[in-house]
C-alpha cells in the first residue's frame, strides 16, 4: 500500500534537512504507529506525503499502491486514497461543515470518474456517520472547525475520514489536546474504519492512544529516520523508559 524509500526532505526556504533517508512500508489492512521525540520530523513526513508546499524532496521515493505520490498534486493524492488527519485542523469561516464535506466527497468522486452524491443521499450517510462519532447535527451546520473545541475538531477530522473512505489514513498527533473521553471516541471511530484494504499510519507522541488503537507495527523515529521498528511492545518500552535509551542505541 504505502511505500516510502530512502526519503530525504529539506525545507524549501532554509538549508535544513529534516528527513534523512526514511524508509517505511505499510501493507494493506495494517496499522502502523510512528513515535518519536519532538523535532524528529514526524509532522514533516505527514505533510510531505500529503503534498504541502514548502518542502523539497532531495532524494528517495514515496508511492501509494504503486502510484508515485511525490509527482501528484495534493488533491490528486486525496483522490488516490490518501487522507491526512491534521494535528491542527484549519478553520474556514462561513463555510458550512456539511457543504465542505460534500464538496470534498464530490470533488474526489469527480476526479475518479464516479458519479457525484446527491444532496439527499449525502445527508443520509453523513448523519449516520456523525451519529456514530457522537457529532450532533448542529455541528454539521456550523462553519468548518470555527469555534469547535479541541475534541470536536479531531472528531470532525475522523468524520471527514469516514466520509471520504480513504485507502491510506495518516493521523498526525490526533491525540494531542484530547481528554480521555474524546480520545476514546476518536479511537472508536478509527477502529470502526479498520478494514483489510485500509491502512493507517498513526503519528503520536504518547503510547496512550495506542492503548485504544492497537497497532500492528510501531516505528521509532529520530532525527529524520526510523531507528527501530517492532511490535506493540515497543510503544510500551518507550512509555516506560522514554526515548533516551533508544536514541543512544541508535547513535
Amino acid at each position: 500500500m504505502l511505500k516510502i524509500d530512502n526519503l530525504h526532505v529539506k525545507l524549501e526556504d532554509h538549508d535544513k534537512q529534516i528527513l534523512k533517508g526514511l524508509s517505511l512500508e505499510v501493507p494493506a489492512g495494517e496499522v502502523h504507529a510512528i513515535m518519536g521525540p519532538n523535532g524528529s520530523g514526524k509532522s514533516t513526513l505527514s505533510y510531505v506525503l500529503s503534498g504541502r508546499d514548502g518542502y523539497e524532496v532531495t532524494e528517495g521515493a514515496a508511492s501509494l499502491d504503486g502510484q508515485d505520490l511525490l509527482e501528484m498534486e495534493p488533491e490528486e493524492r486525496a483522490a488516490a486514497g490518501l487522507f491526512l488527519a491534521f494535528q491542527y485542523p484549519v478553520e474556514i469561516p462561513g463555510v458550512g461543515n456539511m457543504t465542505f464535506l460534500r464538496t470534498a466527497v464530490n470533488a474526489q468522486r469527480k476526479r475518479r470518474g464516479e458519479e457525484e452524491m446527491s444532496a439527499g443521499d449525502f445527508l443520509k450517510v453523513v448523519r449516520e456517520k456523525a451519529k456514530a462519532l457522537k457529532i450532533d447535527a448542529e455541528m454539521l451546520k456550523r462553519p468548518v472547525n470555527v469555534g469547535f473545541s479541541g475534541g470536536e475538531k479531531k472528531r470532525n477530522e475522523i468524520l471527514q475520514m469516514a466520509m471520504l473512505e480513504p485507502r491510506m489514513c495518516i493521523m498526525d498527533e490526533t491525540d494531542s489536546g484530547l481528554d480521555v473521553d474524546a480520545m476514546r471516541l476518536v479511537a472508536d471511530g478509527v477502529n470502526a474504519l479498520r478494514s483489510p484494504d485500509r491502512s493507517f499510519l498513526v503519528i503520536t507522541h504518547y503510547q496512550r492512544l495506542l492503548d485504544h488503537i492497537q497497532p500492528d507495527v510501531v516505528h521509532i523515529m529520530a532525527d529524520g529516520r526510523i531507528i527501530r521498528s517492532g511490535g506493540p511492545e515497543l510503544a510500551l518500552e518507550v512509555e516506560k523508559n522514554g526515548y533516551g535509551d533508544l536514541l543512544t542505541e541508535a547513535g
Binding site: 508546499d53 498534486e73 486525496a78 484549519v90 474556514i92 465542505f100 460534500r102 464530490n106 470533488a107 474526489q108
Partner: protein, 505 residues
C-alpha cells in the same frame, strides 16, 4: 433550519464550485451586430434637446434636463475617491444610441426586433412571460414552485420591452420604462423625479439628469404587495457610447416590492462610461428590496477597456417605519464609484446595506454606503465584504451620520476585506458623525488573506485550487449572498467564482 432549506443551500453552494470548472472568464463579452442610430458625439444643449425629443417628452421635462445641463457645466468631476483612471473626454462619447428597429416603438414584445430578443435570450434573460423555475440542483424535495420575474430590458439608450405589464397592472403596479412613465404618468414623475437625488447632487448625477435616455419606473400603490419580482437588465452594446439610465421606484404606504438589477457589456478595448441614477421613495410602512448583480466588463488583465461605473443610488425612507434593503454584488467594471445610500427620515425607519465587491486584475473599486439618520429610533446595518485579487485596489467608503433629532438610533457596521495574493490592496474609510447623545454606532472591520493553510486543507480533501478558493470566498461572502433572492444568489455565487478565476497559483 429545516432539511429542505439545508438541501437547497447545499445546492447553491454546489453551484459555485461547478461554475468555476465549467465556465470561461467574462462570458458576456460578445456583441450584437445591429444597425444603430447615434446622436453625434459630445454633449451640449442641442444633444440634451435631441434626447428629450427622441423620447417624445413634454416641454417640462426638456426644461428640467436643460436646467441640469447648465448646472453640470459649472461643476467639476470629483477626485476624492481612491481611483486612478485617465481623464474622461466628455465630448468624445455618444450620449444616445438606439437600435434602428426601435425607431418606431414596438407596441408589444411580439414586435421587437428578433435580434434584440436573441441578445437577451443569450444573456439568459428570456423576454417571454414565463415562469422562472428555481433550478436548484439537489433541491428535489423543495416545493417546485414557479416564480415570475417581470423584466424591463434596456439596450444601450432605450428600453426594448417590459414583460408582465398587464398582469402587474391588474395589481395596480406600474412597471415600465422611465420614458414611457414621463409620457403616461407625468404626475408621478413630476412629483418624485429628483426628489431623492436632486439635479445638483453631484457631477455624475447632474450629468445623468441632463442626458439620461431610459431606465425603469416602478410605482407600487398603497397596501399592495407586488405580485412578482421586478427586474431591469442593462446591456451596453454600442461602442464609444455612454449609458445613462435613470430608475425611479416609488413604494406607496404599506406596499412591498423586490427589485433586481443586472448589467453586462461586450469586451471593448476602449473604456466606456456608465453614469446611472437610481432613486427610491419609500412611504409609511412600505418596504423595498433592491438587489444588484453588476457584471459590467471589467477590462482585460492589463486594465485595457472596461466600464467606468459612476453611479448614484439613494433610497429615501420618507415616512415612519419605511424600510429599504440594498444588496449589491459588484464583480465587474474597470472603475466602480458607487455608494447606495439610505436617508432614514421617517421615525423607526430602517436601512440595510449588504455588499460584495470583488476587484481582480487591474480593477479598482471605491464603494460603500451612506446611512443618514434623521428620524427618531431609526436603524441601519451595513455588511460589506470586499475581495481583492491580482493587482486590484478595493476601497470601502462609508458614512454613518446621526443627526440631532435622530435620537435613540442605531447603526451596526461590519466591514471585512479579503486579500488574495500579495499585489492587491484593501482600504477602509469609514466616516462616523453622531450629533445626539442617545444613538449608538458600532463599527467592526477585519482584513484577512486566503491563507495557505486553508488552501492546503481544502486541497488535501480533494478540491483543486480553484474549487478551494471558491469555497473559502463563498464562506467569506455568505452573509451577503443570503440577503439575495434565490435566483440571484446563484448567479451571484457563480460570478464570485468566475471573477476570481486565475487569481491563485
Amino acid at each position: 433550519m429545516s432539511e429542505t432549506d439545508l438541501e437547497v443551500r447545499e445546492g447553491v453552494d454546489r453551484e459555485t464550485v461547478e461554475t468555476v470548472q465549467n465556465m470561461g472568464s467574462y462570458k458576456y463579452g460578445w456583441d450584437t451586430e445591429i444597425e444603430m442610430e447615434y446622436a453625434p458625439k459630445g454633449v451640449n444643449e442641442d444633444i440634451v434637446r435631441l434626447i428629450s425629443q427622441k423620447n417624445e417628452e413634454p416641454e417640462w421635462m426638456t426644461e428640467w434636463r436643460l436646467q441640469a445641463f447648465r448646472r453640470w457645466q459649472t461643476m467639476t468631476e470629483p477626485k476624492w475617491a481612491m481611483l486612478n483612471y485617465p481623464e474622461i473626454d466628455y465630448q468624445d462619447i455618444h450620449y444616445y444610441a438606439r437600435p434602428k428597429s426601435m425607431e418606431v416603438k414596438p407596441k408589444s414584445l411580439d414586435e421587437v426586433d428578433p435580434k434584440l430578443l436573441a441578445t437577451y435570450e443569450k444573456l439568459g434573460i428570456p423576454l417571454k412571460e414565463q415562469m422562472i423555475l428555481a433550478g436548484v440542483e439537489g433541491a428535489e424535495n423543495a416545493p417546485a414552485e414557479g416564480r415570475k420575474v417581470a423584466v424591463d430590458a434596456v439596450f444601450d439608450s432605450v428600453s426594448v420591452g417590459t414583460t408582465f405589464k398587464d398582469e402587474l397592472a391588474k395589481a395596480g403596479v406600474i412597471f415600465c420604462s422611465i420614458s414611457e412613465a414621463i409620457r403616461e404618468h407625468p404626475e408621478l414623475v413630476k412629483k418624485y423625479l429628483g426628489s431623492v437625488v436632486p439635479q445638483s447632487d453631484n457631477f455624475f448625477a447632474t450629468l445623468n439628469s441632463a442626458v439620461f435616455s431610459d431606465g425603469s419606473f416602478v410605482y407600487v400603490p398603497p397596501n399592495t404587495r407586488c405580485p412578482m419580482e421586478l427586474s431591469t437588465y442593462f446591456r451596453m452594446n454600442a461602442e464609444n457610447t455612454g449609458q445613462f439610465e435613470r430608475t425611479l421606484i416609488i413604494a406607496d404606504k404599506g406596499s412591498y416590492v423586490s427589485y433586481l438589477e443586472g448589467c453586462t457589456a461586450p469586451k471593448r478595448d476602449t473604456a466606456q462610461l456608465h453614469a446611472a441614477v437610481v432613486e427610491i421613495v419609500i412611504l409609511e410602512d412600505a418596504e423595498v428590496k433592491y438587489s444588484t448583480v453588476q457584471n459590467w466588463f471589467p477590462g482585460d488583465e492589463e486594465g485595457k477597456g472596461g466600464i467606468y461605473n459612476f453611479v448614484t443610488k439613494r433610497a429615501d425612507c420618507r415616512e415612519a417605519r419605511a424600510k429599504v434593503m440594498w444588496t449589491q454584488v459588484e464583480t465587474g467594471s474597470a472603475i466602480t464609484w458607487k455608494y447606495p445610500s439610505c436617508i432614514l427620515r421617517g421615525e423607526e425607519s430602517s436601512g440595510e446595506f449588504y455588499s460584495i465587491a470583488i476587484a481582480n486584475n487591474m480593477q479598482q473599486a471605491d464603494t460603500g454606503t451612506k446611512m443618514i439618520h434623521l428620524g427618531k429610533n431609526s436603524r441601519s446595518r451595513i455588511v460589506s465584504k470586499g475581495i481583492s485579487a491580482g493587482k486590484a485596489q478595493n476601497t470601502y467608503r462609508g458614512l454613518v451620520s446621526m443627526h440631532p433629532k435622530a435620537t435613540n438610533s442605531r447603526n451596526y457596521t461590519q466591514c471585512d476585506s479579503l486579500l488574495i495574493g500579495d499585489k492587491c490592496g484593501a482600504h477602509t474609510v469609514p466616516y462616523i458623525e453622531v450629533k445626539n447623545t442617545s444613538s449608538r454606532v458600532e463599527h467592526e472591520a477585519t482584513t484577512s488573506k486566503v491563507d495557505d493553510d486553508q488552501l492546503f486543507y481544502c486541497r488535501s480533501r480533494g478540491m483543486d485550487e480553484e474549487e478551494a478558493v471558491a469555497v473559502i470566498v463563498n464562506g467569506f461572502v455568505r452573509e451577503v449572498l443570503q440577503a439575495l433572492p434565490m435566483e440571484f444568489a446563484m448567479e451571484a455565487q457563480s460570478l464570485v467564482a468566475i471573477s476570481l478565476e486565475g487569481s491563485v497559483g
